[in-house]
């Protein structure tokens, strides 16, 4: 069963990615319409929508993890069912280490580039690059919350609204 915290986190995380995608679509569409009608387009739309897409990628990856919907090869675990929990424990540790390294590198990179500003909006480029440490920190939280059912039984969240089978491209 999900804890109250977990439920609230998932709900918030989900609404944030919905809002990001919806505003990307509205913004870019408005710009295309504007270009057709008036031959002008808003300069900052391209920049802002690109940065929103970057945030979407890093903020969404955590929930994708929860649903077991990142593409991977499970053949080995199916061949050796007895060793499977041990293999998944190893994957858990490796992912945790990788995510932690990415948080650290992401912070360093954001700090390093904070002085630069984006070409059109003139905001610090570090605001965009913060997506990486924030996203990977969020992935760590999701990874910890899913750890026990995943390692023991390879159980993920299931939700008719986000079907794990439908996500692989």
């Amino acid at each position: 069963m999900l804890t109250t915290f977990d439920r609230a986190l998932l709900k918030l995380n989900r609404w944030v990615v919905i809002a990001i995608l919806a505003s990307m679509a509205l913004m870019v569409f408005a710009n295309v319409a504007l270009r057709f009608l008036t031959d002008h387009s808003i300069l900052w739309v391209e920049e802002v929508s690109r940065y929103l897409m970057i945030w979407l990628t890093f903020l969404g990856a955590g929930i994708v993890l929860r649903y077991g919907a990142h593409i991977g090869i499970d053949t080995l675990q199916e061949r050796v069912p007895r060793a499977a929990p041990a293999i998944r424990a190893a994957i858990f540790v490796l992912l945790l280490g990788f995510f932690a390294a990415m948080v650290w590198l992401g912070i360093r990179y954001a700090v390093l580039t904070w002085g630069q500003t984006t070409p059109v909006m003139g905001i610090p480029i570090g605001v965009v690059y913060l997506a990486m440490p924030v996203g990977f920190a969020l992935m760590i939280v999701h990874l910890l919350l899913m750890a026990a059912p995943y390692v023991r039984h390879k159980r993920f969240l299931s939700d008719p609204e986000f079907d794990a089978d439908a996500v692989q491209l």
């Binding site: 990001i20 929508s49 439908a166 692989q168």
Partner: protein, 427 residues
Amino acid sequence: MIATLFVGCIILLAIGVPVAFALGGATLAAIVVGGLPAIALPKYLFSGIDVFALMAVPFFILTAELMTGGALSEVLLRFASQFVGRFRGGLGHTNILTITFFSGISGSALADAAGPGAIMIRMMRKDGYLPEYAAALTAAVSILGPIIPPSITMIIYALAYPDINLVGLMIAGVVPGIVIAIAMAIINHVISTRRNYRGLDERLALRDYLRNTWRALPALVLPVLILGGIASGAFTPTEASVVAVFYALAAGRWIYRSLEWRMLPSILSRSALMTASVLIIVAMSAAFAWVLTVSRIPQQLTEMIVAANLSPLAFLFAVNVLLLVFGIFIEPLPGVVVLVPILAPIAHALGINDLQFGIIVIVNLTMGMITPPVGGLLFVTSVVARVPLTRMVSELWPFLWAQIAVLALLSLVPAISTLLPHLFGYR
């Protein structure tokens, strides 16, 4: 450093680490071992996805999601059925034609299989087709998703090899897609004859034809709008993708009336998460490809192959074999991001047309989604048809051989890929 990169990646993938993080983890390990600056990892991660052209990925995903939620598949199906339904194996042919149409709206193979594919499998089961045959046919035809424009794989391809023109590549996919559809129809005909799968015996009057076509028209406008808009230069692919989103929304809401406002949050969240899972792979693959470039392996490989004076055909043959083997294990997107920057310049240097080579690579890697034992498309269709994957495999072979034959044809006859884009002025 290169050994760490490849061995690390293979081990991580084999134990079941998700593709995105296997690529990223191996890249990080190789950077540490090779003494490269670690800060380059976030740099290339960002530059891999900080591209406006990639915006078409979420928008084409969203379009397909908006179109599947509702009456669209059914309308397309009835439209297709009136032309091919009465022939032997009619429902199989209807399946092929419906998915071919839908590929002109969706940019991914799994959207094809999970949308109209799932409906067709159920109908074929009910009509007495072997469920494993229905599943195998659907999986085989669904590879058209990324071959017939729009195509997410092509967007990533143009990113991995910037010398190619994305619009030209999309136009180049049309004829090969139709050739594959015809090949699948031939196999369906042969097998239906052998097993006596009959056609549908519905007598249609002219009035029915007109009504079915009229009902399908708003849906059929979308592929025309996307391809026509891009080919004529009215839209860039990114603009076309966002126009398609709002067209699909309007058609679903006000023409077909199958789309309710309250369905939007779940459609958006599904699309957003699919986008994240695709783009995180693209980002990690970009960093992976950077380490590969630093190692100078691609450059050395190019020099070696060019010096070996290989004929273009021998090279194409070697690439096809390599990709077919690779495709069994890797997904199309990481395959494109990692292999295309190495292979496409070699092909160019050997005088192979960029568009032809792009189509061969994309068809080949997409076929990897249906080559046994594992493949995303096999997984989806076996779940829908409720047959174990292993039983689908024997039904799949005729389709796979036919696709390999098409691949040979695409390699031998450049015009199949290049003629149409040539007419529009793309080379």
